[in-house]
C-alpha cells in the first residue's frame, strides 16, 4: 500500500466485526439508531456528522458525509457553513486556552 488511507477501505468498514463480532455489531446497531430521523432530521444529522468529520480530520468520514449530505438534500452553502462551525469550535478551543496562558503568565510575572 502506497498511502495510509485507501478510499476502497471505507466500504470494508463492516469488516471490523470479523475480529470482534459482538462489540462491532453493537457499534453498528447504535450507529444506525443515531442517524435515524428523530428530534433532528436526517439532513441535520448528516450536516453535524460532516462538521465532526472535519474536526476529527477523518478522510473516510469526509467522503461519506459529503456524499450523504448531498443525498439528504443539503446545499453547498449549508455544507460549508457546517465546516465553518467545526473550524470555529476548533479555533475557539485553541484561543480560549489563551486565557490559561494569560493566567499563567500573570502568575509568573512581576
Amino acid at each position: 500500500m502506497s498511502t495510509y488511507y485507501n478510499p476502497a477501505d471505507l466500504a470494508k468498514f463492516g469488516n471490523i466485526t470479523e475480529w470482534q463480532a459482538e462489540a462491532g455489531r453493537k457499534f453498528f446497531d447504535y450507529y444506525g439508531e443515531v442517524f435515524k430521523e428523530g428530534a433532528l432530521t436526517e439532513r441535520e444529522k448528516s450536516l453535524i456528522a460532516l462538521a465532526v468529520a472535519h474536526a476529527v480530520q477523518c478522510p473516510y468520514c469526509i467522503d461519506a458525509y459529503t456524499s450523504d449530505s448531498l443525498q439528504k438534500g443539503a446545499d453547498e452553502a449549508q455544507m460549508m457553513e457546517a465546516v465553518h462551525v467545526a473550524a470555529a469550535i476548533k479555533g475557539g478551543a485553541v484561543l480560549v486556552h489563551g486565557v490559561q496562558m494569560m493566567n499563567k503568565a500573570k502568575e509568573l510575572s512581576m
Binding site: T41, E42, R43, S67, L70, Q71, K72, G73, D75, E76
Partner: protein, 349 residues
C-alpha cells in the same frame, strides 16, 4: 447552451454504443452482477407486467432546454416530433382499452404543434392526463403563456422537474436562468389554482440528484422543498417525486467524463432493493415513442429496446398480446431498483 450528443457527433448518441458501455463494466474496473441474475435471485425474472394503468407517450425530442442529465438527449436541435397521424393511432388504441392515465412527455411536449389538439382529444376520451412540463416553456414565448389556463381547462396534472430549491444547483443541471424562469412559471401555475389545497389541480415536482449520488428520503426532500419554496417565493405544490438518475444518454456521458461511472454503478448495485424491484413502473406502463413504437419505459425507448412482443407499434396495439410479454431489462435498470426505488411517480418502495 450546450448541444445534444447527437448534434456534436458523440458516440453515446448511438443506443447500441450505450448498451455496449453498460454491458462492459469490467473495462471500468468494476465487476457488476448482471441485472438479469439479480432479478432471478429475487424471484423476479422474467419480469412480468401487471395491468397496464399508464400509457406514456413521448411526443418528441424537441426541447427549449438542454439539461446535462437528460436521458432523451433532447434539445432545440432535435427534430423528432410525433405527427398528428401517430397521435390518432394512440387515441384509437386508447379507445379500445380502459387504461386510465395518459402521461405526456418529451422533450418539451408543448412544443409539438399538435400538442393542444392531442390534449383536447384525450380529455374528450375521459382519460386522466399528466403533462411533464419543464416549466420554462411557459415563459419561453408569448404563445405558451396561457398554458396554465389550458392545463386547468382540461384537468391536466402537471409534473415538473425542479432539481433544487436554489438557482445555483438548478442552473448547473438545467442551464443558466432556468431556476428564475421556473419560479415565474410556478407562480403562474399557482395563480390559476395549481398546487392550491382544495382546487383539485395537481402540481407535483420532480427532484433528481445533481451529480453521482442517489436521492435521499422523498419525504425529507419534500419537506425541505415545501419550506424553502414557500418561504422564499410563496410557491406551493402537492408532492415531490424523488427520482434516481439512470445511466443513459447525457447522464451516462456525465458519469464517464467525470470518472464517476464505476462508483455510481457500484452504488446502484449495492442499493438493489427487491421490494423496489417488484414495484417498478415498467410493469404497469406502456411507453410510445414519437414514431409510434412501443417500449416498456422511456429509458428503454432511448436505448432502442422495443417491447418483446409480436406487437411493436401503436397501430397494431393489443392489450391482451402485450400483457403476455416479459419486460425487457438491462444493466441501466439498476437505477430504478436502488434504495427506495425510482419511477416517474417517485419512490416505489
Amino acid at each position: 447552451m450546450i448541444k445534444s450528443l447527437k448534434a456534436t457527433g458523440n458516440q453515446l448518441a448511438d443506443p447500441a454504443f450505450q448498451l455496449t458501455v453498460l454491458r462492459s463494466e469490467q473495462a471500468e474496473g468494476a465487476h457488476l452482477p448482471s441485472f438479469h441474475e439479480k432479478m432471478r435471485a429475487a424471484g423476479l425474472f422474467p419480469l412480468r407486467p401487471t395491468e397496464a394503468t399508464v400509457l406514456q407517450i413521448n411526443v418528441g425530442k424537441m426541447c427549449n432546454q438542454v439539461c446535462r442529465h437528460c436521458h432523451v438527449d433532447a434539445g432545440p436541435d432535435r427534430k423528432e416530433i410525433m405527427t398528428r397521424e401517430t397521435m390518432q393511432l394512440c387515441l384509437d388504441a386508447l379507445a379500445q382499452t380502459t387504461i386510465p392515465t395518459v402521461d405526456l412527455t418529451g422533450g418539451a411536449p408543448e412544443m409539438n404543434p399538435d400538442f393542444r389538439w392531442f390534449v383536447e382529444q384525450l380529455h374528450a376520451l375521459g382519460r386522466h392526463i399528466i403533462v411533464r412540463c419543464n416549466l420554462t416553456i411557459i415563459v419561453a414565448n408569448k404563445k405558451y403563456h396561457d398554458l396554465p389556463e389550458f392545463f386547468r381547462a382540461h384537468g391536466v396534472e402537471v409534473v415538473s422537474s425542479l432539481p433544487f430549491y436554489n438557482a445555483k444547483t438548478t442552473d448547473r443541471q438545467r442551464g443558466d436562468g432556468v431556476f428564475d424562469d421556473s419560479i415565474k412559471a410556478l407562480k403562474m401555475l399557482n395563480a390559476v389554482g395549481y398546487g392550491i389545497e382544495g382546487s383539485g389541480l395537481r402540481l407535483n415536482l420532480v427532484y433528481n440528484p445533481n451529480g453521482a449520488f442517489l436521492p435521499g428520503s422523498q419525504k425529507g426532500l419534500q419537506d425541505q422543498f415545501k419550506r424553502a419554496l414557500s418561504k422564499d417565493f410563496g410557491i406551493v405544490f402537492n408532492e415531490l417525486y424523488a427520482i434516481t438518475n439512470i445511466p443513459v444518454s447525457r447522464y451516462l456521458d456525465f458519469l464517464l467524463e467525470s470518472g464517476n461511472y464505476a462508483g455510481y454503478m457500484d452504488k446502484l448495485v449495492t442499493a438493489f432493493n427487491p421490494a423496489a424491484a417488484a414495484g417498478v413502473m415498467c410493469r404497469s406502463t406502456i411507453s410510445v415513442s414519437w414514431d409510434g413504437y412501443l417500449y416498456d419505459c422511456d429509458f428503454n425507448q432511448m436505448l432502442d429496446l422495443k417491447v418483446a412482443s409480436a406487437v411493436q407499434h401503436i397501430r397494431d396495439f393489443s392489450a391482451s398480446t402485450l400483457a403476455e410479454r416479459a419486460v425487457v431489462v438491462n444493466q441501466h435498470c439498476y437505477g430504478c431498483t436502488a434504495g427506495s426505488g425510482s419511477s416517474c411517480g417517485g419512490a416505489t418502495a
